[in-house]
Amino acid sequence: MYDIKALYEAENVPHAIQLLQEHPEAQIIAGGSDVLVQMREGKRAGKELVSIYMIDDLRGVSYEEDGAIRIGSLTSFSHITRDPIIQKHINVLGEAVDMVGGPQIRNIGTIGGNTCNGVTSADSASTLHAWDAIVELTGPNGIRRIPIKDFYIKAGKVDLQPAELQTAIIIPKAAYEGYQGHYIKYAMRNAMDIATTGCSVNVKLSADKKIFEDVRIAYGVAGPVPMRAPSAEAKAKGKAVSSATVKEFAQAVLDDIHPRDSWRAAKDFRQHIAVVLAERALKESIRLAGGEIDG
């Protein structure tokens, strides 16, 4: 038995909003792999819950009219990994969420929950940052869409207004077309572990594969919230695809990230692996994009 004060089950999105308005103290529960565990630990014990888990409209991946990819917030990690649209355009997201927890966790965990809990180590978050994802929030005043970087306010805190819930994550067509990316999770175990640092890189190369038309990089656990590394991106954008550019790019991430000492790893170590991961993830992205680098 969980120490739940009351459970309200939403049948659809408007019903969920209504329940959240009626019970302003209630916590939203999606898949529950964070909320229920925290409840068990005592952190959220005795709380009211609004369950949105049964709202099937919030599941699945589809195209929007303008070609953007729409991921329903309740889509589980394993369904994202297996989805043909994801595999075709943004396979790295499927690979990244395939590193969350273990198989059973990936069947219950949702991409909406992974982002709404606001933790920096979420395996989906760095890739979503690196692909300019848009977060769709639905509340009493309608729908608003905000860039994912604005969604994260501080550790554990996201921009969810009262009675609002996240309904989708959108990757605009301009953000995915022509890009190839790679994610590396650095952790102590191969399963059931939280990233010491996670790094997601993607590139768009010129037609002759010689120039970086665009390079994007984002980290988890390099600061209190997932973050991009704009200084590093500026070092590579428009430059020749070469090992010198890759090195310069990787070193520049240190200007942007600010990891901390924690019981998982020391700050110095995180800085070191951030550089190594940037280099490796960029090299792999170049390879996936059909490019080659000297030496």
Binding site: M1, Y2, D3, I4, A6, L7, E9, I29, G32, S33, L36, V37, R40, E41, S51, Y53, M54, S78, G101, G102, P103, Q104, I105, N107, I108, N190, A191, M192
Partner: protein, 169 residues
Amino acid sequence: MANQQYKLVSCIINGKPVEKMIDVRASLTDMLRDDYRLTSVKKGCEVGECGACNVIINGECFNSCIYLAVWAEGKEILTLEGLAGPNGEISDIQQAFIDEAAVQCGFCSPGFIMSAVEILEAKREFSDDEIRKLMSGHLCRCTGYENIFRAVKKTMLRRLGKNKEADAV
């Protein structure tokens, strides 16, 4: 508790349609064990880490300890008890666990076996790395994992008609 909250939950458990009034605070583990006496579903960590409570819901594996019982509404649930034949015979994967000495205290076995069932139901040959990854959501503190891995691999190969390869594992 002054205002206990119950809900009628209808689902199919091991092929049989059932319904009962369930306390909304119950996990699916609580419901399966306490209301349906399916005690193969073990209470281990109860925070979704050890996999001892693993069951198959609509064809996918879930840790029932972090799954609310009310979410079982309309779902098809399979527990280890559902693997038994018409006269209570054990299944091939259970026999393989015995043959390979993949069972010692037995606490993790039902969970492991249900993950193995999901692999076997896919009816295709997985690589060693894939099997290890698909079985990675479970902890075993007795046998180590090699015997369990062999039991799963052998059964997978046998079901695919590759008896010679299975014997060589």
